[in-house]
Symmetry: none
DNA sequence: GATGAATGAGGCTTCATTCAT
DNA sequence: CATGAATGAAGCCTCATTCAT
């Protein structure tokens, strides 16, 4: 029953790494199908392992998520470098970075929720990830602010949270003609017209 | 054990309305304490009724929520009238309306979630409520757009969703120096500087 | 699957009493077989009910035990009356009462453990039961002490605990030629008035 | 991660003994803190070894306990000699010996339980230890009986079991004004020669 | 209509034990 | 020998929902 996994080999041990990778593969698919609140036991079962084994690798749902996202972290890091190298316009660079994060946060249904929680609870395995993104966002943001392209009072943390919120909202917007990224646009430009927007900040 | 609620009498009959009101009172308090994902059974128990009775009154959690929000609907409706009558500036009026909705959506912890869902699933008892708010938002928005105070491509539905998203994010922002309403500000003004924002919309 | 229980009737409802009684029957047998640490889920399954139903009737293992013992409480109460009426010798009466309690505490394997715990934690459903027995023991004890048949410094609580301890030990003694009640005898020779005993108390 | 124990060296080999000693140290502390039902895995982890290694050294929990108690056996053996040499009164000697065993059996929370079990199951690693104590107890007891200071029908095994039972009860008695050793007193007044006790044996 | 007992799938954890390396 | 990853049964508990009374 167990061990009927990927390669077909017996149960090669030492490839705890392989096993871990297999769990991640399964979890990735399962979360994609059922959202991040899906049953951990079900993931274990689908991976052909006991619940204890899953628990050993990832003691928390968030630990599993963090591992899952780490793979994407690398993609995002690459994306960051690409943006920095190719985009000379600081505002456009920030916009692209936010878009990239928005896609990252939409990887699984329900993902924004634990990410938001991680912003508050420092103990979460996701907290570190979030912090890194906030730092990067801050870098892009400050560059844009230096160029007078981003409003000076905005902060990276707010922007990250804004991206999370927009991603959170995204799953509902699809049923509408309004593009899922409408909120990302709002985030960038707001609803008010430029000339006179500052005065009505409540 | 049951019926030990308000009157002290046996079961005066005709108190179906009274019963319903009592349930709502209890649910309001319970959701305030435990968030909207709290146990319905616990609400029933606290109200001194059986779960079946609760179920009869409100077949779903959404139905209960909708009833709960309806009371606040009246407040919001009053607020709307007040804004319309007292605020001549259309942009300020829209801003005030969005703020009011933001408070409304923060009534219970976790409330934005089912509201978002109601935007997609038309069957939800909350859908009607949401639709009403969207319509009102649209009215405020169009007035502002007529005055050239709101960007013409923005739509009421987006704005409503934006308010929801900002409310969703609010619970996490508190740990930061950034005010919980930072996102509401972003919603209004965006992060980009006014002069040159439209060109980079991805 | 469920409801395949005792009578063969459909699922008569209202006989929540009957259901409860059935659970108790099953639990009694199960605990007799597996000791009191046996699986509650297993009891539920054997009773043909869901775990939730068992939980509703008896939220705690101790609550279940307490209910189980209550039936025997009645027997013990009857025994007490019988002893009081028929035994004029106060020392013999106490001895008989202790013996009766010893049998009561041996009803299930492992029973003395939670009873001991209940002596310390007042919240336990078993605490009340224990307290009642201590009171009764005290009554018998005081009578014997008045007659100079029991050592005056002994207290009912100690004696109850002693009976518990002897019952605890009983399960091991059986493999030996020494009668399982050897400890009860030791206990008795402890409370009985001796001529010369006090000098060696360490 | 492993081997981060005492020496700091890599793994000096031949340290099987040292390893074993280290495990015992850790287990001693762990059982002191969590009682003897604590997790063996936790002990292994705390000792910096794998569960398999722990298992190799001590195939059962009882084996570990037996090893743990063996260290104390030496103390007890010394105590025995001291008593024999210093105490000329055979009854007092027995009393002191029983007291010493009571302390020994209270070393860890829950210890009496497996000791009692070992009296029945001869296969237990603890059985040998118990048997030794019974033998010693018998020696003290017979001396006292020869002097007419202990009741002749009492047997060492009973007395050992009685000490165990009193130790078992000790943890609960603390909440009361009655000293935890109340049962030991009861036990003693049991084995001491009384004038008129036999007639009420039920 | 109202009641609340029953349902039972499903969640998360823990841990003694095995066994490939 | 030592290791520690894997196992997986079993435990307890929760709760939305149904339905007999």
């Amino acid at each position: 029953m167990a061990g009927s996994t990927n390669d077909g080999e017996r149960k090669p041990r030492t490839d705890k790494q392989r096993n871990r990778a297999h769990i991640l593969d399964v979890a990735e698919q399962y979360f994609s199908e059922h959202g991040i609140t899906g049953s951990l036991d079900a993931i274990a079962k689908r991976a052909g392992i006991g619940p204890g084994t899953l628990y050993r690798h990832f003691p928390t749902r968030e630990a599993l998520l963090a591992a899952l996202l780490q793979a994407r972290d690398d993609e995002l890091e690459a994306r960051r470098k690409a943006i920095q190298e190719q985009e000379s316009d600081s505002a456009a660079a920030l916009a692209q970075w936010l878009t990239a994060m928005g896609q990252w946060a939409t990887a699984f249904d329900g993902l924004p929720e634990p990410l938001r929680a991680a912003l508050v609870e420092d103990k979460s395995p996701l907290a570190l990830t979030c912090q890194g993104f906030i730092t990067t966002t801050d870098a892009f943001l400050r560059a844009a602010q230096r160029d007078g392209r981003a409003r000076p009072e905005v902060r990276g943390r707010e922007l990250f949270l804004g991206v999370l919120a927009a991603s959170w909202a995204a799953s509902a917007a699809m049923a509408d003609e309004s593009s899922p990224s409408a909120l990302h646009h709002l985030l960038q430009a707001g609803w008010a017209t430029p000339a006179e927007r500052a005065e009505h900040l409540s």
